[in-house]
């Protein structure tokens, strides 16, 4: 009788353990992040293919001031897409909804850092020679734009915490939390005081 009772308790323990782990690893991440589609489909591969012949920094370049121009404005797209190229839904949407009325495309930024973080791309890419892929992944090789996963609680993109919910990332794209910045700065012997990033 006692043995049976103990077994039942163990069973309940295991049920609790498994349910909590499943919730922690699967249900919480699914519930925590909302998935938001980009306003327009976009293929990096098509643009960087031999046909289009574009380089990454045709659109994502550093300005003469050293700032990062980020996502291009439609003024860049208009060079080729003043008239629709092809008949895809996205192409027509681009021309009719954005290029013709002169509206900027409200792209969702995966790597948007909070306002209080100062991140000079020029120092990281030119001086520290960190490849873009280290933080942004192999974005240039994607066929489509994945939806932005936004934390319902904080509003941050999932890319900041890292794609792996455990917060442990072993291969690019690496997470972009403050602790990641501090670790990397320490590893490279770079100043890691508060004022280095929070001006």
């Amino acid at each position: 009788m006692i043995l049976t009772q103990r077994r039942t308790t163990i069973l309940f323990f295991i049920i609790g353990l498994v349910v909590a782990m499943l919730a922690g690893w699967i249900a919480v991440p699914a519930a925590l992040y909302e998935s938001i589609e980009q306003p327009l489909g976009f293929s990096h591969v098509v643009h960087t293919s031999d046909d289009a012949g574009m380089e990454c920094d045709d659109c994502h370049h550093l300005t003469s001031e050293g700032g990062f121009a980020g996502i291009p404005k439609i003024a860049v797209c208009v060079d080729c897409h003043e008239e629709a190229i092809g008949t895809s839904v996205d192409e027509l949407k681009l021309v009719e909804e954005y290029i013709k009325p002169g509206r900027e495309i409200p792209w969702l930024v995966y790597a948007r850092q909070p306002d209080n973080a100062f991140f000079p791309h020029v120092r990281h890419t030119r001086l520290a020679k960190i490849p873009c892929e280290q933080c942004h992944g192999d974005h240039g090789q994607t066929e489509t734009l994945r939806p932005l996963k936004r934390n319902r609680f904080t509003g941050y993109s999932r890319d900041i915490w890292g794609n792996d919910f455990s917060g442990i990332t072993t291969s690019p794209p690496f997470s972009m939390k403050m602790s990641d910045c501090v670790d990397c700065h320490r590893k490279r012997g770079v100043r890691d005081s508060c004022l280095a990033c929070h001006k």
Binding site: I14, W25, F153
Partner: protein, 717 residues
Amino acid sequence: MGFSVKRRDFLGLVGGGAIGAALSPAPWKGLDDIAIWTQNWSWKPRLPRGPVEVAFTHCGLCPAGCGLKVRSVGGNPVSIHGVPGHPSSTGFVCALGLAGRYFSYHPSRIVEPTIVGTSGQRRGISRKAAVRQLGDWLDKARSGGGHGSVAILDNHPGRVRSLAYRGWLATLDGVHIKGLREDTPINRLRTMLDGPAPELGLDIARARTVLSFGAPVLEGLGSGGAGAHLRGRSDTEKPYIVQIETRPSRTARGADLWLRIAPGTETVLALGLANILVSEGLYDKEIIAQQALDLDGPGGYRELVARFSPKQVSRITGIDAATIKKVARRFASGPAVVIPGVDPGGGPLSAEAQTAAFSLSLLNGDVGRPGGVVARRAIPQEGQLADTVELADVPDGSIRLLIVDGAAGGCAMPTSLLKRKLNPSEGRVVSLSPFERSALHGADLVIPSTTPFENIDEAGVPIDAPVDSMGLTVPSMRAPDYSVDSLSVLSMVAKSSVVPTITELLRGRSDRIHAGGRGSVFDPSKGESVPLTEFQTNGDLWRALMGGGLWTDTSAAFTCPPFRLMGANAAIRDRLPQALEQPSTADRQAREIVLMPFGWRDAPGDGPLPPVMAKLFRETRLRLDSRFATICPKTAGELGFAQGDKASIKTSLGSITVEVVLDPAVVDGVVHVAVGPSTEAFGDASPGKGDQPLDLPSCKNDDCWRVIPAKMLEVVS
């Protein structure tokens, strides 16, 4: 056999759940998210997003008018930098200017007009009611008083805005009063010249020697960058700086020679130096023979300085005779600049000390020669203007309505000094300051104006600029609706006269400069200057100025006119020999001390400070604020004080409580207290919060509060 869940099973389930949760990232992620969430409450202010823009302007926070590069996001400035190659600031920006954008959100910002009611309490009123009240007081002041019953205290005189004030005051028979600035003493030199004198500037960059009576030469005097520039120059290039001061200021420590002078004995030292120049024939004999009107004869300058022998001077000033001789000979060896400094908190030297100091420039033939005192060419002005006077020259009790301009002049002054000038029964003060300041508690009406980053105005011409210039403080943020430009206030109350807008005035000056065709214009985006003649139209020049450009004039040849070495003012002349009556340093009574208030150049008085300055004052104590008194260990020991003790400093007007800080570099018998900021009361200027040593001085007739007899007493708790 039925299945029943026991308490133990339930605990097993909870325990398993807890361990399972701990083995998943959810709790750790939850903690992280909560931390972020608390920083991102929806009601927290957020930086707007928008296009990143870079614009050039000038700083209007003090008369140095440094060139600024302002980076804005979505129309909001987010960072401020200096402009390399800028003709006056040379890329420099002080701590105040760097954080200047915070002023618009400062907690001490006044957000509505206020008036002191019959109960003595300040209460908010509408702008319309405030302007109506100002109009009523204006009518009353005009009907009840004569010349000078209406006055404007202009903290930044010399701008086109000042000309508009003077034009308006001319219609009211009012007076335009110059607020205290670091270039105030140069007017003393102008009064020593016989006949009309042009605007004068100091050519520090080309001087061989700088004789500074307490001026913050290396801390940013004049054009902010000059001090940094002087510090960075090699010894062979830079002038030999002699600093005459009681306090171990940054300039004193960085000077080539620091003369630790006994308090209040600058007149004696200046006349002692003159004694050596005259007795050793080291003065400019040609100029003196031709232009000096009062060298010889009974009661002449020669007779005066003969009494100031090195031995006598040494006895009173505490500086040894050999050093005095050495300084005099160095001074006479080439062009020199004498600066009877205005301390940002300690105010000007006495009138006789200024006169004695400038007599050295005249003796040395430095007025009108490069590396000395140079003349600036004037841009012609039009219209009838009221006189501009020094506050000291305003008769006591004469003002019935005083309007205080909201500009920052860079110097603090005791409120008692202003109060003395007001009519005791009917004197009213209307302040146009954008910020709450304890000095304002004496104002009957406050109409908040714009801050320097919100309004267009003219940047200053620094004291060390050898030529005239024009730069604009181009607004980099929108002025809030509750603030108003001071000229708009005047135009609302002006019934018959028409007050021009600030833009019309600035445009007018720009057009006159263009018509003159002289000088060059600095382009901050390229870092180079081009001759004005290359600007085809007056519109081109205006656009360049609106883009943060700086026009600088060409220098003018100036022949020094006849002058009086002892000045034209008989009262000052009579006081000069009395300087010898001061006790010698040896005769100083033990336990007798003097309070010498001083100010930090970028933070004098109780004006607002950006939060980042808290690091300089409150957190690191790199700078001591008004809660600390610096005193030498010997004097402190005689008075029974040790490091860290609390002390009460008493003058005839009241007392302040301070913490004692020992510094062997301070001159014996002196206690230095900073005039602000009161970092205990950051952002709070309510009465009693911003205890300032400037509430204490009782000013002498010549409006000098540099050296105040005081007592230092133990605080009985």
